[in-house]
């Protein structure tokens, strides 16, 4: 061991914090090295000064003051805590676990409840504004709005027997953007049209009216799509007006 190495170990050597094997080596070195021995004396002197580093004698009044201040603080704290003692108990380790678990359960239950309820309402068609009874503008399905722009067509004159079968969705469709097209297709089902058989001449008509009844007679088939703004009007008679087999009121 050389002097720099010994010098590093001296601070711990003075208090016996060096391993026994090294202690012997240091002791041997100190016997033969005056510089390291001098350094050891300085360390020992500083160590002694530290050991004697006593505070000045404090008055008893200082201790009395500390005690009275502490006790006053404790009493004040206990008085202020009494109404909110239950709140403080929440932050005890065990109570905090129970509280956190209960809170987590409540959040989970609330999430499940919301998910279950949302899966039933509303229908995707309704969300997209396709459901006839849910006209976003507050108008009844099938009724053309009054006083709107150019695509407006006047209300038709119903002189014959009108069979109105309002479309009603028969099943609910799970909310999903991917299913919105299916909803449109479902509502377009030709099995559930709004059928309006009208006799243009004012005579009696029926759904099974024969096209041979006369050239004046026209069988008009109205199909209401899920979009209240779109209605398909189909003239199925061979005497139907040409040039406009289909009309659309889209854009109203």
């Amino acid at each position: 061991m050389n002097c720099p190495h010994i010098e590093e170990l001296l601070p711990l050597y003075i208090s016996g914090d060096v391993e026994p094997t090294r202690t012997n080596l240091i002791a041997t070195h100190l016997q033969s090295c005056a510089a390291c021995a001098e350094s050891l004396r300085e360390y020992a002197g500083a160590h002694q000064l530290l050991a004697d580093f006593d505070p000045p004698t404090f008055d008893e009044s200082l201790y009395n003051g500390i005690r009275s201040d502490v006790l006053r603080e404790i009493r004040r704290d206990s008085v202020s805590r009494e109404p909110l003692s239950w709140l403080g108990q929440l932050f005890q380790p065990r109570a905090a676990w129970v509280f956190a678990t209960a809170l987590l359960l409540a959040v989970l239950l609330a999430s499940v409840y919301i998910l279950v309820n949302r899966s039933g309402h509303p229908l995707p068609a309704q969300q997209a504004g396709f459901y006839p009874g849910n006209d976003p503008r507050g108008k009844e399905p099938g009724v053309q709005p009054q006083g709107t722009n150019g695509t407006y067509s006047p209300p038709r004159k119903k002189t014959g027997v009108a069979v109105n079968q309002q479309f009603r969705p028969r099943r609910r469709i799970v909310i999903s953007p991917a299913h919105s097209e299916i909803a449109v297709k479902t509502t377009l089902s030709p099995a559930q049209p709004v059928i309006d058989l009208a006799d243009k001449t004012g005579g009696s008509s029926s759904p099974d009216a024969s096209p041979d009844a006369g050239p004046e007679k026209t069988l008009r088939l109205d199909m209401q799509t899920s979009d209240p703004n779109i209605r398909i009007i189909w003239f199925s008679n061979q005497h139907a007006r040409t040039g406009s087999p289909m009309e659309s009121s889209k854009g109203i």
């Binding site: 601070p11 208090s15 300085e42 004697d52």
Partner: protein, 204 residues
């Protein structure tokens, strides 16, 4: 040097209050402020001395001691019976001193610095009054302590001044023995350098 509870507690209070410390702790933990006051009487001098050594001035030491006792009362319910009360008390004391020292920078300033400024350059140690020498030495160490980082200061106070074994110091500081040894070694080296001139003069 391993300190026991008997060494720690002022004897006069022990004779006056025959109730054991464990019982006092138990009663205080249940809200008995009288019992807690007895605990304070038993430990106030030690707490005050440690805080003064850590912070270097009476005002901070007083504030720290008050905070130590408030924390002791607050967390007495968590104190385990098989735990060493005084090691636990040291732990709280060191933590409080750390908190206070971080908040303010007046530790080891004010009075101590003024006194050190007044220290004569040539001290005739042999002819000086013993009390003056003691005061000068105290101020010298206080100034040296002020140069130490908080962790080294805590380690040196507990190991060299309070006289606790290194392992106990490591437990109190929640550190490893190796780290504490390193901190102590570093602190002693700095203090020795700081006190070198004084020590060489006294050896003459």
């Amino acid at each position: 040097m391993d300190m026991t509870a008997e060494q720690w507690l002022p004897v006069k209070h022990l004779t006056q209050q025959p109730t054991s410390l464990t019982l006092l702790i138990e009663r205080a933990a249940n809200g008995d402020t009288m019992a807690f006051e007895q605990i304070m009487i038993h430990s106030q001098q030690k707490v005050m001395a440690t805080t003064w050594r850590m912070l270097g001035n009476e005002a901070d030491a007083r504030d720290a001691s008050q905070e130590v006792f408030l924390r002791v009362y607050k967390y007495l319910g968590r104190f385990k019976r098989d735990q060493d009360f005084f090691a636990w008390l040291y732990q709280i004391t060191v933590n409080v001193c750390h908190d206070i020292a971080k908040k303010q920078t007046r530790a080891f300033t004010s009075l101590d610095d003024e006194a050190l400024t007044a220290l004569p350059a040539n001290i005739d140690v042999k002819n000086a009054d013993a009390n003056l020498i003691r005061t000068q030495q105290r101020e010298l160490i206080a100034r040296a302590m002020a140069t130490l980082p908080l962790k080294e200061r805590a380690a040196i106070v507990l190991r060299d001044i309070e006289g606790l074994p290194t392992d106990e110091v490591a437990r109190i500081l929640k550190s490893s023995s190796t780290t504490v040894r390193s901190q102590i070694s570093s602190a002693r080296r700095k203090i020795k350098v700081h006190c070198e001139r004084y020590l060489r003069r006294t050896e003459r």
